[in-house]
C-alpha cells in the first residue's frame, strides 16, 4: 500500500527511479531521498541498533540520522553507515541494512536486548577485565566481532577525488532563508561569495513551506545572476579551522550510479574566507520516554519534511508529542495531507498554538506526556498521561512525532572557538562572542522562523561584506514578519517512567546510563560521554546530546550551562576517506623524482627502487638471472672491480656556490679547508651538525676562484641547502655568497673500474685524461658526443673512476656514447645494490653510518678535521661524551664462515649468550673481491678488538655468526687503485 501522497511535494512524479533495499525492489521519484522513497513505500524497519540490536526506523530527515544507516551500493563502491535521509535517490540504487543476522526482521543478536539489564554502561570494562590474559586472545576479538556498524568494501576505490583550493570574501554556510539572504546581501555589495549547501536543493526550511516558494526561487535566480557568487549544492562544510580556513566536501557524483568519465566522485575543498556567515539552521531534539526508539517514532520536523517536501506519509494516524509551538506545523501539515492526528500531547499547560489547533478541530492534550509506546517493530499504541499522573489514554496509531525543541547547529561556530551560551528562550545553547571572523544567523543562533531568519541573514551578510571591505546595502525584499502569537518552549527532557528511554539512538544510550555514570563517579560531561558512549557516535549526539547533558545536570543538581556539552570536533558530518586522500593514492602518494636516464633504465631491464622521492635502478637483471636476485648484483659489482661499469648518480645533491666569500663560507661549513683548493680540483668534504655529529659528506670542486660545484648525499640535498641558507642569511650575513640548487640541471654518471680511463678516452673531446693532466681528484670541462660535460676523477667504489656530469637534456646521448666506447671492455651498467656492495667493500660510509649518531672520529675520518680555524659543530664535538676514545668506531667484519651473513642491525657480543652489546652491524653485503660475506660495524674499543673474534647476534632471527674484526677497508686498504 503506497504511502505516497496524491499531490504536493517537490518530487518529479514523471521520473520514476527503481531501487533495491535488502534485495527487494521499490520505485521512487527524482527528488526523493532513499529515506523518503522507503517511507513512500511503507517501509518502517530499516536497521538494527548498535548494542542491543533493537529494531529501528527513520528518525530524521537529514544527515544527522542515527538509526537509518545502510550499506550503500555494491562491490568496490560499497560504503557503510550511510544515512538514508542524506542519500539522494538514483536509478539502480542498492542498499542493505546493517547489524543484523540473518535478516533485518529476525536478528539473532537481538537477544542482547533481553540481556540489556545486565549490560549497562561500562559493561565491557567491568566484565572483561579478568583474567587479563583473556583480553587479547578472546575478549577483544569477540567484542570486535559483535561491535561495529556496517562493513566497508575491501576492494580498491574505483573512483577518484579532487582536492581544490578556493578563496572568497564571504563564505555562507547553509542556504535556508538566512543563508540565501546573507549570500545575496554580500553578493550585491560586490563581495566574492561562496554559498555551500549540503542538500541537493537550496532552501533549507523554505522547502517545507510552499508559501515562500516564490521568494526562494527569486533569491536563487538573483544569486545565479551574480558572477562573483558561487553556489555549491551537495557540499558539506565539515570543519572550521584557524585563520578562517574551512573544509568542505562536494559530492559531485554521488547522486549518479557512477561518476561520469573524467569527473571526480567528490571534491575536497579548502576554503579560505575573509568572513564567514554560519546559517546552518537547527537540529530538533528527541524526548526520552520508554520505547522512544520504536520504528514509527519520528522527529516532528522530519515528518513535516517527508509530507511537505517528498509527499510521503510516514504514517496514517499520528500522535504529536511536543513542548514547543513550532512542532504544531507538523500537525497542520498532516491535516492538509489527510493524515489523521489522534492527539497533540503538549507538556505545557497552555499555548497559543494549542488554541489554534483546537479551533481547527484537533484534540490537544495540554499538560500531558507520552508515557510509553508499544508495538516492537512498529508503533501500534501510544499511552498518554497527565504530567501529574493519571490513568493513561491509549491511542492506536502508527506514527508518533516528537519534538523536544531545537538546538542551533553551533558545531562550526564551536570549532571556530566561539564559546557557547545558554539561552532560556529556546532552552538550548547559542553561539557566543566570535573568536574568528564569523557570525551566525537565523536558526543557527536561535532565531526560529523564516522571516526573522531572512532578516538576520541579510544583516549578517551585509555586515560581512562591509567587514571584507565592500559597501553594503540590502536592496531586496524579505518575507513578511510573522504576526501570530507564540508561547515559549518549556524545557522538557524526559518522561519519568519505567522502561528504556533512549537519549542516544546510534550508540544505544539511555537516561539510566547517564545516571549510572554519575553514581559511579563519571560526573563530568566528558567522562560521562566516554563511560556511556553518549554522543560518541558519528552523529555526535545531534538529536539527544543536550538531553543527556540535561539529565546529568539533574543528577548533579546543577544547571545545564554548568554541566555543558562535550566539545564539538570535526567532522560535523562524516565524510569519505577517499576525499581526504584525494589524488595522493597509489603511484601519486608522493611526487616521484626521475633522473634524465629514467627511461633508459626502464628500457634496459632495470628493477627500480625508491631512494627518498627518487626512483633509482636497483640492478639490471638479465633474462637468465631471473629468480636469483644476487646474480645481477654480483655480476655488476664484478664488472667494476675487473673491467668497467657505469652507474647513474644524477640523484646526488648538487649546489652551485658562488660569491667573493664562497671559499670562506665553505671553510666554515666543512670540517676541512676549501680555500686552499686549486681551481680544477675536487676535495672530499665532511660537515657536522651544530651538535658535533656528522651531518653530510660529498666532493666539492673549485670551478673558478669564486665558484664551487658542491655535491651532497642524495638524501640530504635539500637539508644541506637549507642549512647553508640559514647560516648565510642569519649567522654570517656579511659574507658575499650565493647558492643555487643544480641537482636537476646536471645529470651524473660514474664510470668505474680498471678500464674506465680507456673507455672514456675514446669519447672525451678536448681533454687529456692522462694521470698527470687529470690526476685523482682532478676536474675539467670537455665534450662527449658534442655535448658539454664536466669530468671529475673521483671514486666511490675504490677503483679508478670518473664521474661525468652533463646538462640533463644530454644525459642519454652521453651515456650511450660511454656504453659504446666501453663495449669492447664489457662495460656493465650497475645499480644501487652493486653501488652499495662496492662502497661496503671499500669501507666508505653512507646512510647507515651517517645516521645522525656518529662523530667524525667514530667514522675514522679524524684526518678530515682541521686543526685551526672554526667550523660548524667544532665546539660541541669536543664534549667529553663525543670525544670519549671508547666510543664505538667504524670497523670491518668478516664472518669466520664467510657463507654466513652478519646481518645489519645485529649486535656484537664477546661470547654467545652475552647480553652486553659491544657495538652493532651497520652494513652487510657479499664481497666480489674476497668472496662470501663482509660487513661494516660500529664497535666500542675497536683497536682492542682489531684482528680478534666476536659474535654478531641477531636474536629476532635466532642468528649467531662468529666474525673477525678488521679494518673497514676490505678492498685496497692503501688506496692505490684510484690513483693509478
Amino acid at each position: 500500500m503506497s504511502h505516497r501522497l496524491a499531490s504536493g511535494g517537490r518530487i518529479d512524479r514523471a521520473k520514476r527511479l527503481q531501487f533495491q533495499f535488502d534485495g527487494r525492489s521499490f520505485t521512487g521519484h527524482a527528488g526523493d531521498t532513499l529515506a523518503s522513497a522507503l517511507i513512500a513505500n511503507g517501509v518502517r524497519l530499516v536497521g538494527r541498533s548498535f548494542k542491543y540490536h533493537r529494531p529501528r526506523g527513520i528518525l530524521t530527515a537529514g544527515a544527522e540520522e542515527p538509526n537509518a544507516l545502510v550499506g550503500l551500493r555494491d562491490g568496490a563502491r560499497r560504503e557503510a553507515n550511510m544515512p538514508m535521509p542524506a542519500i539522494e535517490l538514483f536509478d539502480g540504487l542498492t542498499a542493505q541494512s546493517q547489524n543484523r543476522w540473518p535478516s533485518l526482521d529476525f536478528d539473532v543478536l537481538s537477544i542482547n536486548a533481553k540481556l540489556a539489564r545486565f549490560m549497562p554502561a561500562g559493561f565491557y570494562y567491568k566484565t572483561f577485565m579478568w583474567p587479563a590474559s583473556f583480553w587479547e586472545k578472546f575478549y577483544e576479538p569477540m567484542i570486535r566481532r559483535a561491535a561495529g556498524l556496517g562493513e566497508a568494501s575491501r576492494d580498491p576505490d574505483p573512483d577518484h577525488y579532487d582536492a581544490v583550493h578556493a578563496h572568497c570574501d564571504v563564505l555562507v554556510v547553509g542556504s535556508g532563508a538566512a543563508g540565501l539572504s546573507a549570500a545575496r546581501a554580500a553578493g550585491e555589495a560586490g563581495a566574492r561569495v561562496i554559498l555551500c549547501e549540503q542538500d541537493f536543493e537550496l532552501g533549507g526550511g523554505l522547502l517545507l513551506d510552499p508559501r515562500h516558494e516564490a521568494w526562494r526561487a527569486d533569491m536563487i535566480a538573483a544569486l545565479g545572476a551574480m558572477p562573483e557568487v558561487t553556489i555549491m549544492p551537495r557540499s558539506t562544510v565539515f570543519g572550521y579551522y584557524d585563520h578562517n580556513v574551512l573544509g568542505v566536501i562536494e559530492r559531485v557524483a554521488d547522486h549518479l550510479p557512477t561518476p561520469p568519465q573524467h569527473v571526480a566522485r567528490q571534491r575536497y575543498w579548502t576554503i579560505r574566507a575573509r568572513e564567514v556567515v554560519l546559517a546552518t539552521g537547527a537540529y530538533e531534539r528527541l524526548i526520552a520516554f520508554p520505547e522512544n526508539d520504536t520504528p514509527g517514532v519520528m522527529l516532528a520536523g522530519a515528518a513535516l519534511s517527508y509530507v511537505r517536501r517528498f509527499a510521503a506519509a510516514p504514517g496514517r494516524r499520528a500522535v504529536l508529542f511536543t513542548n514547543n509551538d513550532e512542532a504544531y506545523d507538523t500537525a497542520f501539515a498532516f491535516l492538509e495531507s489527510g493524515i489523521d492526528v489522534a492527539a497533540i500531547v503538549d507538556v505545557r499547560p497552555v499555548s497559543a498554538r494549542a488554541e489554534t489547533a483546537r479551533l481547527r478541530g484537533l484534540n490537544v492534550l495540554s499538560g500531558s506526556v507520552v508515557a510509553g509506546v508499544s508495538g516492537g517493530k512498529s508503533v501500534e499504541r501510544v499511552s498518554v498521561t497527565k504530567r501529574n499522573g493519571s490513568a493513561p489514554d491509549i491511542f492506536s496509531v502508527d506514527l508518533l512525532c516528537m519534538s523536544g525543541g531545537h538546538n542551533p547547529a553551533i558545531h562550526l561556530a564551536s570549532q571556530s572557538q566561539a564559546k557557547m551560551e545558554w539561552s532560556d528562550a529556546i532552552a538550548s545553547f547559542v553561539p557566543g562572542a566570535s573568536k574568528q571572523r564569523e557570525n551566525s544567523a537565523g536558526a543557527a543562533r536561535g532565531s526560529f522562523g523564516i522571516p526573522i531568519a531572512a532578516r538576520e541573514g541579510a544583516a549578517t551578510g551585509a555586515a560581512a561584506a562591509t567587514a571584507a571591505g565592500f559597501g553594503a546595502a540590502v536592496g531586496f525584499t524579505l518575507p513578511d514578519a510573522e504576526t501570530s502569537p507564540r508561547t515559549p518552549i518549556e524545557a522538557f527532557w524526559e518522561v519519568k517512567a519505567e522502561g528504556k528511554s533512549f537519549i542516544d539512538f546510534q550508540n544505544d544510550v539511555t537516561g539510566d546510563d547517564i545516571r549510572l555514570a554519575h553514581r559511579e563517579g563519571y560526573s563530568h560531561i566528558e567522562h560521562a560521554k566516554r563511560y556511556t558512549t553518549h554522543t560518541m557516535a558519528t552523529d555526535q549526539g545531534k538529536s539527544g546530546g543536550l538531553v543527556g547533558a540535561a539529565l546529568l545536570a539533574e543528577a548533579r543538581g546543577e544547571t545545564i550551562p554548568a554541566v555543558g556539552v562535550p566539545t564539538y570536533r570535526p567532522f560535523v558530518t562524516p565524510i569519505t576517506y577517499g576525499a581526504i586522500v584525494g589524488h595522493a593514492v597509489g603511484a601519486d602518494f608522493n611526487p616521484i623524482r626521475r633522473t634524465a636516464l629514467h627511461d633508459w633504465h626502464l628500457r634496459n631491464g632495470a628493477t627500480m627502487m625508491e631512494a627518498g622521492l627518487w626512483m633509482r635502478p636497483a640492478f639490471y637483471a638479465q633474462a637468465h638471472e631471473k629468480g636469483d636476485i644476487w646474480a645481477p648484483i654480483l655480476r655488476e659489482a664484478k664488472a667494476v672491480r675487473q673491467a668497467v661499469g657505469i652507474c647513474d648518480v644524477s640523484t646526488l645533491g648538487k649546489i652551485d656556490v658562488q660569491g667573493r666569500d664562497a671559499a670562506m663560507f665553505l671553510d666554515r661549513l666543512y670540517t676541512n679547508t676549501f680555500s686552499t683548493l686549486a681551481v680544477g680540483k675536487a676535495r672530499y668534504g665532511l660537515m657536522l651538525r651544530e651538535d658535533g655529529i656528522v651531518f653530510d659528506d660529498g666532493t666539492t670542486s673549485r670551478i673558478a676562484d669564486d665558484r664551487f660545484f658542491m655535491t651532497t648525499t642524495t638524501g640530504n640535498a635539500a637539508r644541506v641547502l637549507e642549512h647553508m641558507e640559514f647560516y648565510a642569511q642569519t649567522i654570517w650575513p656579511e659574507l658575499d655568497v650565493q647558492f643555487c640548487t643544480i641537482s636537476d640541471q646536471w645529470a651524473g654518471m660514474s664510470i668505474a673500474g680498471p678500464q674506465s680511463r680507456k673507455t672514456i678516452e675514446k669519447i672525451v673531446q678536448g681533454l687529456d685524461l692522462g694521470n698527470e693532466a687529470v690526476p685523482f681528484m682532478g676536474v675539467a670541462d670537455a665534450t662527449v658526443a658534442n655535448c658539454p660535460v664536466r669530468v671529475f676523477r673521483i671514486s666511490f667504489s675504490g677503483e679508478l673512476a670518473y664521474e661525468i656530469a652533463t646538462p640533463a637534456g644530454y644525459a642519454e646521448p652521453v651515456w650511450e656514447a660511454v656504453l659504446a666506447a666501453g663495449k669492447e671492455f664489457g662495460i656493465t651498467p650497475y645499480g644501487l645494490e652493486a653501488l652499495g656492495l662496492l662502497r661496503i667493500e671499500k669501507g666508505h660510509v653512507a646512510g647507515p653510518e651517517l645516521g645522525g649518531h656518529t662523530t667524525a672520529r667514530d667514522l675514522g675520518l679524524e684526518r678530515m678535521i682541521k686543526k685551526r680555524g672554526d667550523y660548524i659543530g667544532r665546539v660541541l664535538a669536543e664534549r667529553p661524551g663525543l670525544a670519549d676514545p671508547d666510543r664505538p668506531r667504524l670497523v670491518g667484519l668478516r664472518p669466520v664462515d664467510s657463507s654466513k651473513p652478519a646481518r645489519a642491525g645485529g649486535h656484537l657480543i664477546e661470547t654467545p649468550g652475552s647480553s652486553q652489546s659491544l657495538g652493532w652491524v651497520t652494513s652487510s653485503n657479499q664481497s666480489v673481491e674476497l668472496g662470501g660475506w663482509i660487513a661494516l660495524a660500529m664497535l666500542s674499543r675497536a683497536e682492542h678488538w682489531m684482528g680478534k673474534r666476536l659474535y654478531a647476534a641477531f636474536p629476532l632471527r635466532k642468528e649467531m655468526v662468529e666474525v673477525e674484526v678488521t679494518h673497514p677497508h676490505h678492498v685496497d686498504h692503501e688506496n692505490v687503485r684510484v690513483r693509478t
Binding site: I742, Q745, G809
Partner: protein, 202 residues
Amino acid sequence: MSVSVPEPNSSLRQVAKPGRFGATSATPLVIMERMLSLVQVQTRKGRDSDVQAAILAGFNLELPAAQRAATSATMTAIWIQPGMWMLSAAGHAEGAMARAIKDATGDAASIVDQTHGKTVLTLSGAKARDVMARGCRLDLHPRAFMPGHSAVTQVAHIGCMLRQFDEIPSYEMLVPSSFAETFFGWLTHSAAEFGYEIKPRA
C-alpha cells in the same frame, strides 16, 4: 670544424604526446612545454643596482619587483626572492644565454644556467583557473592575481615558479625537471574534466 650540440631531450618525452585528451570540449585547455633557456641571476652583496642597470642596458629588461614578472621583446624575468630572478628566453644555443648575462653583469651577479634544471609548461584556457585550484593554494582570482603577477609556491606539492601572462588566463610554470613527469601527471589529471590539448614542444 664545429659540430653543433644536439637538441636536448625533454623530461616529458615519454608522456607529453601531442593531441586532444580528456572530456570533449569546444574550447579545450591548451598545455604546452616550452623550450626556453633559463638563467638564474642573483645579485652579489650590495650590487643590486649594478645588476639592474646591466640587465636593462644589455637586454632592455627592467627586473621586476617582488611577486611580479617582467617581459621585454625577447626575455622574461620572474622575481624569486630579494636580489634573485629567473630569466628566460627562446632561441639561445646551449649555455649562450648564461654566458651573455655573465658577460653583462660581471662580478656583480652570480649566474647559474637552469635550462635543464627546470621544465617549463604553459596552461591556457578559460578553465585554467579551475585546474590550478586543484594543486595551488594561491588565490588566482582576477582581482588578486593578474597578468604580470608571479609567485614561487607549491603546486601539487612540487616547488613551482608561476606567472600569469595573459587574461585568458594563461599560466607559465617552471618546475624542477626531475619532478616534471609527476607534475605533468597531476596537470593532465586535473585538466581532464574540462578537456585539453597538448601542443608540440616549442
